[in-house]
């Protein structure tokens, strides 16, 4: 679908926000999308109370969708509490992308979400259930 590749998606891909590795950091996780081999890591720095996100960065290689999704997602995280991160709805991540994501690209769009979940739960997170995430009817 060409209309996945709106200008702002391509801009995020070419010029991703929050790309890199935070050093020092409080949380770190790396995961991959087994269907395409994309790898992504995320580092988070917390505030003094270790409650809220002070800074965040992601790193790794991937497609435009996974990179743009990570770029857009990480922009939203500063100031959020760990509980808020854990409660994040994958549907919202998809909606925030602002382009129609079908089942074939869902894992690309959710890789950043999965890595983030891994970072906050301290273990590999499951892929969200396709049926749940696409139920909103955002499939093309």
């Amino acid at each position: 679908m060409d209309n996945l590749y709106r200008d702002f998606i391509l801009e995020h891909y070419r010029d991703p926000h929050n790309k890199g590795v935070l050093d020092p950091h409080d949380l770190h996780f790396a995961d991959s999308n087994p269907t395409c081999g994309d790898e992504m890591s995320m580092t988070l720095l917390l505030d003094g109370e270790k409650q809220r996100v002070a800074d965040v960065a992601f790193d790794g290689r991937g497609c435009a969708i996974s990179q743009a999704s990570a770029s857009i997602l990480t922009d939203e995280l500063r100031g959020m509490t760990l509980d808020e991160l854990r409660a994040l709805d994958p549907k919202e991540v998809i909606e925030n992308l602002g382009v129609p994501i079908g089942p074939a690209r869902l894992k690309c769009a959710l890789l950043s979400y999965k890595v983030l979940q891994g970072a906050v739960i301290g273990a590999e997170a499951r892929w969200p259930d396709e049926a749940d995430v696409l139920a909103g009817g955002s499939a093309p």
Binding site: D2, C36, D38, R61
Partner: protein
Amino acid sequence: MVIEQQRADVFDGAALRADFPVFDRPHRSGKPLAFLDSAASAPKPRAVIDALSDAYGHHYANVHRGIYELSEDATARFEGARAAVARFIGAPSEREVVFVRNATEAINLVAYSWGRTNIRAGDLILSTEMEHHANLVPWQQLATETGATLEYVAITDDGRLDLDDLRRRLAREPKLLAINHVSNALGTINPVAEITQLAHDAGALVLLDAAQSVPHMPVSATELGIDFLALSGHKMLGPSGIGALWGRRALLEAMPPFMTGGSMISKVTLAGTTWAEVPLKFEAGTPAIAEAAGLAAAIGYLEGIGMAKVRAHERFLFERAWAALSDIGGVRLLGPASPDEHAAVISLVIDGIHPHDVATIFDGHGVAVRAGHHCAQPVMARYDLPATTRASFYVYNDLDDIERLTDAIHATQRLFGTA
């Protein structure tokens, strides 16, 4: 770019599309379908679909045990399909052909049945760096369970099997060499007759994963000299849910069953069981009856064209596609350049654009290709790529598909600003 329409091949692929209903179906791109993913699974010609309808509608019953017309009829057709497979792959006897679900099951059957009986701790098994997971993971499992060693024959930078490395490893007397005829990730055609000779000289059996060769070129198990062969029906215009294992009769006879249950027994008592003869010994339960008839129809369709012509057609398309793709800046091609060593399966990388994005954008242009690791993650690791885009050709493809492919690449590069 317009590809010159002078042809050196033997038949008109575009004309064959009329035989395949999928090309009539409207697609959301609004464009006709340029189907370049036959290496994953092939569309079905009407002849196969009709054979299935006929088998289910008029000749269907359980096989082997029924004493009535329909069951005799179904059994004769099922066994006729076995004979068709044997003939198609140059097997000495249809009794050496075991129906399975797919090439994956064929290989697992050998790994479980032959492997668990013949492989001991310390034994060496050889596979290669270019295999599909189906011809890798079962051997990893076997090695783990038995304490055997599994080694992988290296591949060269241009995707050919490293024959020197093969010789070195064969010198350590492996029990088995499990190798594909054509790599689905690279397109490489392996020189199987030569490799088999080397393996046999070293005392190793050869299992050939022929999932990507049997659909596309004449293959004779007898001439190649191999010991086992695995194939999938769905890649050769046939139904899903059916494939075949061929094995030398003496090997099959010496092997214990894999799955057990009805049809594969000789006598069952509460104290124990004896087995039916080969190939029934390996076909527990009700098989894919109508799908066997569908596979025979697919073989009939391919034989109607002639496998030598299928190969010549694909070789022609490969040469044209390779040339056209090589001309595009920012496109890298994997695998050997020679049409003698490369089937019509082309793995490519477009600089700066991820294959997943490529495939999605191509889909918008009506061009169906595969993006990913092609179930060959070690190949990706070998070339340090996360994934590739793969275009694969079959009988219904023609020069127009190459043009659609190159146009789609240009459009993608323009969209990403890398043109």
